[in-house]
């Protein structure tokens, strides 16, 4: 037993010494004060560094911090769906000014929390409101427009008239809208150019919900299969799974098309063959809404963020002028409503 | 016999295992070309001594001298290098390997990194021819008969050029005739300069084959004698430490009505091989019906089929007029069976249960041990106290785990549980005394005879011919799954039974 106490003491001392070396994180105790503007973020089930919507939203929150809008920013990762409410209330009880909740799954918990904490502004990313929820601004994106744009681009650029898309699960509406928008866009371009393009769209749906976005190996294999069938442009839509597909496409010399952000910048392995990206700008969208909260211009209900296509970067020279013109026209048409994607918001 | 040079000497060997002093300052020597028998009861420390010499364990104290040199044995590698080979009681063969693979294991011949099976097979054939050990190097070991497996073990030691061969209880699995064959091989080996340590607990064999006999008891060497200077009674006395009554006190008893009737029983084992073919016999109340035979001739499957542990493929089993063919064990037990199983630790007991629980292992489900599905601890307790005193089970308390008891007392727990049941009409005792000390053996034998005298039918299955002859009123001999003979004990001899056990039924039956 003597040895026992000795070991314990040693361990405790060691941990104290080590902890003294580390800087203790700043706490958020000042958030109850009027003048301190605090923003908290609760993720959907998943990681904050998912390289996908959780991370983009968090980067938006961080941007508001570096922009000087928010004084304290903090996040909580959700490990289990039953913790949604608890995680939100952690910020609510600490007197935060804005709480960002990411993902449709948190919709109900967010609405309930908005009722509990009327003084706090809630921003729900990807939370479409059928009826306006007081206290909550739902940030949504017309992903189908973005998919439509890159679909048209891919169809116009394909030599083999075969293009593919490798997506996460179609159960998640934004993914569905990207994928189906891609198809519709290709068809639209065919209509303009008199071509017939075959479009392969594969959604990754098996083995669990949360893994369909984080299976790059599956994405790569699927992209290779599509290229075996002759596809020469691959749109990777859906987190890491899509990234795997785009990387595989780039390695095989096909065109890769990224998603969410301009992936030319985030996927260096695929950059040389990155034709464009279907952009859904969560980061600026979140930052803008946080800023709007601070200056009081924010309103309840749905807010639509920007969606579009990324520059061609290295491949700019490959893209013929008429294609560039076509893309600009389609983008304008989508924005003014003269072109409709015809994609239902949710998989029927 | 001339006094030749000492090839192996063990001096002052002491080994302590948790709770047992397994080897207590033992001295032992072996001369070149002799057969030196090591005699003792189960647990006397014979195998421990040999495991120490062979390097499977390390002695706490003492030294081992081979050919005049003290050697430090850390593992079997060292003893093999010193020319020692050992044939273990439980064969150290890998069933899914061929004979050649088993023989070369640990001392493989390779050709460019690849196993050289051909040259090993050649070497095995040479050894076979030289010593008259007929084995096929390319046969899989698993399906071989035990006699042949034993030869493979011997070939294994010779392949390694062993000059000292330890045989641990080699005759336990052999017929008397096969044992004779083995003795011939042993003598053959000694004429070629091999020295043999022969471990056994069978007096007759020792007297027949050994040049010298060392008797061990409770981890100590009692004496070393020459067969010409001693006899069975004296040896038994040395082994057990007291006068031993070598015969069972058994009065004549009139057999009554037929209790067990077996007709045309055929059983397959787990490998789906037919190990019992068309067996028929009957056992009457008040008689002990012995089934003799070398292990592995279908006795295990036969008793499993009779007790409900295995379903026969055809035939019928009737107990007291009730057809119980293929019925589950509980139904058979409730019809009056008491079963002392072959492997007490595997079947008879749950070692991590208390003695009290084990004493109700088969009866826990009915009153007084349980009522409406709830166990009544008090009844278990009372029952166990009663049985512990009635059957002289040596245990500190009924709440000690059965695993903590000695083998003899474990067996007594089983015997107490089985024989104390109210409605016993038939006792099936399979190897009831295997591995036990003489005291327990005597006790269990007397309990079996008591049951017989009470008019219960007893089916005794044993590989020990002496036990069969001492207890049975009638004897059946099993050979290759068939009953080749049924005789009254009085009207037969050891030799005759031995012939039958070896399959010589056509001429004699």
């Amino acid at each position: 037993m003597k040895k026992f106490y000795f070991v314990m003491a040693l361990l405790i001392v060691a941990s104290m010494v080590l902890s003294a070396c580390g800087a203790s994180a700043p706490t958020a105790e000042d958030c109850t004060k009027e003048e301190v503007f605090c923003v908290g973020l609760v993720t959907d089930v998943g990681k904050i560094n998912d390289k996908s919507f959780n991370q983009s939203a968090w980067e938006g929150v961080q941007k508001s911090n570096t922009d000087g809008v928010a004084d304290v920013v903090q996040f909580i990762e959700t490990a289990d769906a039953k913790d949604y409410a608890k995680n939100i209330s952690q910020f609510g009880d600490a007197g935060y000014d804005v709480i960002v909740t990411v993902g449709f799954g948190l919709g109900e918990a967010t609405a309930a929390a908005a009722a509990t904490y009327p003084a706090i502004r809630f921003i729900g990313v990807d939370q479409f409101q059928a009826a306006t929820v007081p206290g909550v601004s739902g940030l949504n994106f017309p992903e189908d427009n973005a998919g439509f744009l890159v679909g048209a681009l891919a169809a116009a650029m394909s030599q083999s008239n075969k293009i593919g898309a490798v997506c996460g699960t179609d159960v998640v509406p934004p993914v569905w809208r990207f994928g189906e928008g891609y198809k519709a866009g290709a068809a639209y371009a065919d209509g303009l150019n008199g071509t017939t393009t075959e479009v392969f769209v594969v959604y990754h749906s098996d083995v669990g919900f949360d893994k369909t976005f984080t299976d790059p190996e599956w994405g790569a294999q699927t992209a290779k299969s599509m290229m075996d069938q002759g596809a020469d442009a691959i749109f990777g839509c859906g987190g890491l799974t899509g990234n795997g597909a785009v990387t595989a496409a780039a390695q095989a010399g096909a065109y890769g098309i990224g998603v969410d952000t301009d992936q030319y910048l985030t996927l260096p392995e695929a950059a040389p063959r990155m034709l464009s990206s279907a952009m859904k700008l969560i980061t600026p969208g979140v930052a803008d809404l946080v800023a709007a909260t601070k200056d009081g211009s924010i309103a309840d209900g749905n807010v639509f963020g920007a969606a579009g296509y990324a520059p061609f970067h290295d491949l700019d020279g490959d893209v013929p002028a008429e294609v560039k013109t076509m893309m600009e026209e389609i983008n304008a048409g989508l924005l003014d409503g003269s072109i409709k994607t015809g994609v239902s918001p949710v998989k029927p | 016999m001339t006094e030749s040079q000492i090839v192996l000497e063990a001096k002052g060997i002491t080994k302590q295992f948790p709770g047992v002093l397994a080897s207590d300052n033992v001295n032992f020597d072996l001369r070149k070309g002799e057969i030196h028998a090591l005699l003792g009861e189960n647990g006397a420390g014979k195998s421990t001594l040999m495991n120490l010499i062979y390097g499977l364990h390390r002695p706490d104290k003492g030294e081992i001298i081979v050919n005049g040199k003290t050697i430090d044995i850390h593992s079997p590698n060292d003893s093999i290098a010193a020319g020692i080979g050992m044939v273990h009681q439980h064969f150290m063969l890998i069933p899914v390997f061929t004979v050649a693979e088993n023989v070369m294991l640990g001392d493989e011949e390779t050709k460019r990194g690849s196993l050289d099976r051909i040259s090993v097979a050649k070497k095995i054939n040479e050894i076979s021819k030289q010593y008259g050990l007929d084995v096929d190097p390319n046969a899989l070991v698993g399906p071989l008969p035990v006699g042949i497996q034993q030869r493979v073990e011997i070939v294994k030691t010779l392949y390694r050029n062993a000059e000292i061969v330890i045989l641990d209880e080699p005759t336990a699995v052999l017929t008397p005739q096969e044992a004779e064959d083995l003795f011939r091989i042993m003598r053959d080996l000694t004429t070629r300069g091999v020295s043999i340590i022969f471990i056994t607990h069978k007096l007759k064999e020792v007297l027949a084959v050994a040049d010298r006999i060392t008797v061990m008891r409770a981890g100590r060497v009692i004496n070393t004698v020459k067969p010409s200077e001693t006899d069975s009674a004296q040896l038994a006395n040395m082994m057990v430490g007291r006068q031993v009554i070598l015969t069972v006190d058994k009065k004549d008893h009139e057999a009554e009505n037929e209790i067990l009737k077996v007709e045309g029983l055929t059983v397959r084992d787990q490998r789906d091989l037919e190990t019992v073919h068309n067996v028929s016999f009957s056992v009457r109340g008040g008689e002990v019906f012995g089934i003799a035979g070398v292990q592995g001739n279908g006795q295990t499957e036969l008793s499993e089929a009779l007790t409900g542990l295995r379903s026969p493929t055809s035939g019928t089993v009737t107990i007291d007029g009730k057809d119980l063919t293929g019925k589950p064990p509980r139904v058979i037990t409730e019809s009056g069976l008491a079963h002392i199983p072959e492997d007490r630790q595997r079947h008879g007991l749950v070692l991590s249960y208390t003695v009290a629980d084990n004493m109700a292992l088969c009866d826990y489900y009915h009153p007084p041990f349980s009522s409406r599905g709830v166990i009544q601890p008090k009844a278990l307790d009372e029952n166990s106290r009663k049985l512990i005193s009635a059957f002289d089970v040596r245990t500190p308390s009924p709440f000690v785990n059965a695993g903590k008891l000695s083998g003899g007392n474990q067996q007594k727990v089983i015997v107490a549980r089985e024989l104390s049941r109210d409605n016993v009409k038939l006792v099936i005792a399979n190897q009831p005394t295997r591995g036990l000390d003489v005291g327990s053996i005597e006790y269990i034998h007397s309990e079996i005879i008591k049951m017989r005298d009470r008019g219960v039918a007893v089916l005794l299955i044993s590989a020990e011919l002496d036990e069969i002859m001492a207890l049975s009123d009638r004897i059946a001999v099993m050979y290759r799954g068939q009953i080749v003979a049924v005789v009254e004990t009085k009207k037969t001899t050891r030799e005759q039974l031995g012939l039958w056990m070896a399959g010589a039924h056509v001429q004699s039956a």
Partner: protein
């Protein structure tokens, strides 16, 4: 007099054995926590703040306590499920799948039954029915594995792992298909909310802890009673310790294996059913991820004893629940909790390490949990 003395010493013996049984797990937890603290410090966090967060978040307020109980509820059921199988000599890695199946079917009864029957059911019928069906389906799900084990010898470890994936795929299929909440605003894979009549009430107003928690404690007691005081328990334990002796003793080994798996699965299914009827009021794919593996750790930490499991479940619940507060205070990721839990499990499983560090002598026999693949 003598009897009295004996019972007195018996009580002392029991107390002694509890403290003996508890010592190694306690030291395992302690060591893992200290190691965890060192890791936190190593990556630049403040271990004291992190642990303060854990404790505050799990025990710091009535709400925190309530949430810990909420977390503990499924853990107790699932831990009991694994432990019961252990007692019967079976390793149930499939609690995860059985739980999901139980939850799905409990939810189905919860939302669809009134619709099918066309009447509103009273709570007294609807709630127990929803729970029972979840339990039953969990039991059947595991029973398949039990049946395969008994009649074909297929090893339950592989089969329960496979059944986990099958359950995961099947629930995904159902939740995305026929069981999906069709209300226009819903876009994710989840069932509709269950009817009010199938909901278990909360114990206290304003707190989420529900009667399922009390039920969990009662079930833990019941399992202890079942295992140690009934003939069925005797049969399960005998088959677990020595199937050959069980067969010899007239126990129907095959039936007992199947029954053990069914009971084990039913407990896991109960965990799912209680989550649905007591807490979430629906089933969704994001619910209850990884409980099956946590349950193994809980059963091991609790030494397969119901009381131990309740305590272990509380510990794990407190860690999972307190993680929110810990994150809030230190931004330490939840994975840290997984790591500490893995360390606890490591030290509990390899108690030789703990015994070596603290120089504690081994007592008693090794408990055999599984026997290779051969079965």
């Amino acid at each position: 007099m003598q009897e009295e003395k004996q019972s007195n010493s018996l009580t002392r013996q029991i107390l002694q054995s509890i403290s003996n049984a508890g010592l190694v797990p306690f030291l395992a937890i302690l060591t893992a926590v200290v190691l965890g603290g060192i890791i936190i410090a190593f990556v630049g966090g403040n271990p004291f703040l992190a642990y303060r967060g854990l404790i505050e978040g799990s025990f710091g307020s009535t709400k925190a306590l309530s949430e810990t109980a909420v977390w503990a509820t499924p853990y107790i059921f699932a831990g009991l499920a694994v432990a019961l199988a252990f007692k019967g000599g079976l390793f149930n890695i499939g609690a995860e799948g059985q739980l999901a199946v139980g939850a799905v079917f409990s939810a189905l009864i919860g939302y669809a039954l009134p619709e099918w029957l066309g009447v509103d059911l009273p709570t007294i019928i609807h709630l127990p029915l929803a729970i029972l069906v979840g339990m039953l389906m969990g039991g059947l799900w595991a029973g398949i594995v039990g049946w395969l084990k008994a009649y074909t010898g297929g090893h339950e470890v592989i089969n329960t792992i496979m059944m986990n994936y099958i359950a995961l795929n099947t629930t995904s299929f159902l939740l995305n298909g026929i069981m999906k909440d069709r209300s226009p605003t819903n876009v994710i894979a989840r069932t509709p909310l269950i009817a009010d009549s199938a909901r278990m009430p909360a114990i206290f107003d304003g707190l989420r802890v529900h009667w399922g928690f009390i039920l969990a404690l009662l079930v833990a007691f019941f399992i202890w009673w079942l295992l140690n005081k009934t003939t069925l328990g005797f049969e399960i334990r005998t088959v677990g310790l020595n199937p050959d002796a069980a067969q010899y003793a007239g126990i129907n080994v095959k039936r007992t294996i199947i029954l053990t798996m069914i009971l084990s699965g039913a407990l896991a299914g109960l965990a799912g059913a209680i989550e649905v009827t007591g807490l979430n009021y629906r089933h969704e794919l994001g619910f209850s991820i990884g409980y099956g593996y946590d349950a193994i750790a809980i059963a091991l930490l609790g030494k397969s004893h119901p009381l131990g499991i309740v305590l272990a479940a509380f510990l794990f619940a407190a860690m999972r629940n307190g993680a929110t507060r810990m994150q809030f205070l230190t931004q330490m990721p939840v994975d840290l909790i997984s790591m500490i839990q893995a360390l606890i499990l490591l030290f509990v499983a390899a108690d030789a390490i703990i015994r070596y560090i603290y120089r504690i002598k081994a007592k008693g026999e090794r408990v055999v949990l599984t026997r290779g693949w051969g079965g």
